[in-house]
């Protein structure tokens, strides 16, 4: 075990943690909006809208994240027409390709989490609100959404942790996140065990923080 290599790789990997956290927060930010939108579409009674939303979550939950990144990064890069459009400004950058893939992926899972949370809201809550003459819009924003968020916190916390680990795939499209920098250090030192132990510990530490944050929020939103 090369302890010197381990300690010398810590600062390099920590500065790469910034990239990992940026990827994670931006994908979760966009993913939450996508998820909320598609959860609402899933609850729509119109069969076409409903099936469309279902199809989206079916495709993105049913294919590996790595495949999704490769299709968006290498696949779209091969389409000559796309390269002449304004979209190429975004798709040219590996950073945005990764975020698009991550956001679409986590959006699909989030939509399922939120949908099931909406469906578990007791009809009595909504009927009670209606009987008081509260408008549908206000019922949705002030009653359904807060309850759904509370219901979905444990599952969503899990999704954040899964997404954190998913960001390691950004290194496959040339991004220098924690995994990317770890691979770079290994490429010159040929000692994978030491470097991956440090990289793994960083992911574990971030998970620890996320886990406790979610636990705190769960407590805060509980009825008692």
């Amino acid at each position: 075990m090369d302890l010197e290599l381990m300690s010398s790789s810590i600062p390099k990997l920590l500065s790469a943690t910034v990239v990992t956290l940026k990827l994670l927060s931006l994908s979760l930010f966009f993913g939450l909006f996508i998820g909320l939108l598609f959860a609402i579409l899933r609850l729509n009674k119109n069969i076409i809208i409903n099936k469309f939303a279902y199809g989206y979550s079916y495709v993105f939950r049913g294919t590996p994240l790595l495949v999704q990144i490769f299709i968006i990064y290498f696949g779209f890069g091969q389409i000559e027409y796309l390269r002449s459009t304004i979209l190429w400004v975004i798709l040219k950058e590996p950073y945005w390709c990764a975020i698009i893939a991550f956001a679409l992926n986590t959006g699909a899972y989030t939509s399922e989490i939120l949908r099931s949370a909406f469906q578990t809201i007791k009809p009595g809550f909504i009927e009670a609100a209606k009987s008081l003459g509260i408008k549908n819009k206000i019922i949705f924003y002030k009653i359904q959404i807060p309850i759904a968020i509370k219901q979905s916190l444990p599952a969503y916390g899990n999704e954040i942790i899964l997404m954190l680990k998913g960001t390691s795939l950004a290194s496959t499209v040339t991004l220098m996140d924690v995994t990317g920098v770890a691979k770079y250090i290994i490429s010159t030192t040929f000692k994978p065990i030491e470097v991956f132990i440090v990289a793994g510990s960083i992911y574990l530490f971030i998970t620890f923080i996320i886990h406790n944050l979610i636990k705190y929020l769960e407590k805060k939103f509980s009825y008692q």
Binding site: F74, G77, R83, P94, T174, K183, Y184, T188, K191, P192
Partner: protein, 275 residues
């Protein structure tokens, strides 16, 4: 119960036979993704200069061999962890790698080159045809200066953990934006897609891609050798495996004398890349 016992016994015997059958075979690791050095045909069979050379060297050593595939970025760690006994994967002999493993004498050499898509502003650089970084001199200095100016702020793509990446990281051509990929295929894809202003790899790798894909990939600037580009390509062997190193060196000597290396090299490269 009896069936389970018999089944597990059968499984154990099979396992034992497989292990013992492979025990005295030399395992050679290659990437299978760097044509014409080593690659795979449509059916997934390993082919290329080094695959054919490996079989020839094994015949000279009088040993049975197995050729196994390994991703490039884990090649040296896999050798050290005994997943195989020798590397034949277009791996240049460099001082950095020699800290971790031993190399046989070189069996072939190649020059590296920058490549761009036709119509790039990097075309028509005023540099000599080839520079040897080990020799140095005013010609080399002037060429590196021209390259530093031309590549400033440009994105140059390379395969990870290669001599090409080492060269760009060395600062000989100033600060360029280096992007690293797991395989040369991915470098080629992104060069063609326009995400890379230029790419650096073995000149033969670009020629092979241009020929097979029909994409207008052209070589620019000088060809590179020496210095960070190492001293030819050799067989990588664990440091404590001195017997195997001797055997490979002897086999390479004989194969060279018989003209076998140069014959196989000419077949795959289109020119005699042997050394």
């Amino acid at each position: 119960m009896n069936i389970i016992k018999k089944f597990s016994l059968g499984l154990l015997i099979t396992l034992f036979l497989t292990i013992s059958a492979n025990a005295d075979k030399i395992k050679i690791g290659t990437e299978g993704a760097y044509p014409p050095w080593n690659s795979k045909d449509a059916s997934g069979k390993l082919i290329g200069f080094e695959v054919e050379l490996a079989w020839a060297l094994c015949r000279y050593m009088g040993k049975q061999c197995v050729i196994v595939e390994q991703d490039w970025d884990g090649m040296i760690p896999a050798l050290i962890m005994r997943k195989f006994d020798a590397i034949m994967a277009g791996m240049s002999i460099t001082a950095e790698r020699q800290k971790a493993i031993s190399f046989s004498q070189g069996y072939a050499d190649e020059v590296a080159s920058l490549a761009v898509m036709k119509g790039s502003s990097l075309e028509g650089m005023d540099t000599p045809e080839g520079i040897n970084l080990s020799l140095g001199g005013s010609d080399v200095k002037k060429a590196l200066k021209t390259l530093t100016g031309a590549l400033a702020g440009k994105t140059v793509c390379v395969q990870t953990a290669t001599i090409h990446q080492n060269f760009l990281d060395s600062g000989d051509v100033g600060k360029v934006n280096v992007r690293t990929y797991k395989t040369q295929d991915e470098v080629n894809l992104d060069l063609a897609a326009g995400r890379c202003d230029a790419a650096l790899a073995a000149a033969v790798a670009f020629n092979d891609y241009a020929e097979k894909s029909g994409k207008p990939v052209v070589l620019v600037g000088p060809t590179f050798s020496g210095g960070a580009f190492g001293n030819g390509v050799g067989v990588g062997i664990r440091k404590d495996d001195t017997e195997l190193l001797k055997a490979f060196n002897k086999a390479i000597n004989q194969a060279r004398k018989d003209g076998v290396i140069s014959r196989i090299a000419t077949k795959w490269f289109g020119f005699d890349a042997s050394m």
